[in-house]
């Protein structure tokens, strides 16, 4: 079962996404996608680690190509997060920009192994800013991924000020 959780920066989307796996009896994997680049991102990683402490997650770090992962069948996976995963694929060093299909294939593989996959993403689409063409292309790709995942998902939630708004599936 796939669940998509999205929301603005600092909206509480990660805490909500984690809560979707409260009480999960099997293995819980936290799939961390961020390549830490500076002090701020390291602090953010630390904050997320502290938030997960004691909740029974095993952390797996993987920045792209999720189809290469071998995870235990029937586990639950929290993917944090899609904007990073897509950026790691799209802005791959020294080569063609990555394709949405590759990210989707990785997530589809994940869904075929795991019993529950929660994907955390972010809202970057309503600021009305004219970005450079490469950034526009990145945003279009992320939006494409959102639509494709929402179509596949059993539930879609937008977290606003810590409150989950249900767009699809069981009301949070």
């Amino acid at each position: 079962m796939l669940i998509l959780v999205t929301g603005g920066a600092g909206s509480g989307k990660s805490a909500f996404a984690e809560s979707l796996l409260d009480g999960w009896r099997g293995e819980k994997i936290y799939l961390a996608t961020m390549a830490a680049g500076d002090g701020e991102s390291l602090r953010r990683i630390e904050r997320h680690r502290a938030m997960r402490a004691g909740k029974g997650f095993a952390t797996v770090e993987r920045q792209r190509d999720l189809e290469m992962l071998s995870l235990p069948t029937g586990c639950a996976v929290l993917v944090e997060d899609l904007p990073n995963l897509w950026a790691n694929q799209f802005f791959a060093p020294g080569g063609e920009p990555g394709r949405e299909e590759d990210v989707l294939a990785g997530l589809d593989t994940l869904c075929s192994t795991a019993a529950r996959v929660v994907v955390v993403s972010g809202e970057l689409f309503s600021d009305g800013t004219d970005y450079a063409p490469e950034t526009v292309r990145y945003l279009e790709g992320l939006a494409t991924l959102h639509r494709a995942l929402a179509a596949r998902a059993a539930a879609v939630y937008e977290v606003v000020c810590g409150i989950p708004v249900t767009w699809k599936g069981e009301k949070a």
Binding site: F125, S126, A143, H146, L149, A150, A151
Partner: protein, 118 residues
């Protein structure tokens, strides 16, 4: 008149075409085309639109507008004014629309008007 709003890339036009059965040839991209076509996409590019003239000519039109007001306020005064004007335009149209929907990840939520589409 129906108003459809949502962020960039969320699938607004695809949603309208699926709901109505119209094709891309039926979609206007300028105020001039919008006088005679059933769907007007890209309202956010026309903050100075003559709404009165458009609605007089085409009262049943479906307007599609990108949400542009949820970012950092631009440094450029013209850009600030444009965002503000688009927001106000949507408020005015929403107040008069028989139906307003917001599209998000290809999914819809009805903000106004619970009846059937047409």
């Amino acid at each position: 008149m129906i108003l459809i709003v949502g962020g960039a890339g969320q699938g607004k036009l695809d949603y309208v075409l699926e709901k109505t059965g119209y094709s891309r040839e039926d979609v206007a991209h300028t105020p001039m085309e919008a006088l005679t076509r059933p769907v007007f996409d890209g309202l956010e590019r026309w903050p100075e639109l003559d709404e009165t003239a458009l609605l007089a000519a085409n009262p049943g039109i479906i307007l599609i507008c990108r949400e542009v007001g949820c970012g950092v306020v631009p440094v450029d005064g013209g850009e600030r004014a444009r965002r503000e004007a688009v927001g106000r335009l949507c408020c005015r149209r929403a107040a008069r629309a028989q139906r307003v929907e917001r599209i998000f990840c290809g999914l819809s939520t009805v903000l106004k008007g619970e009846g059937p589409w047409r």
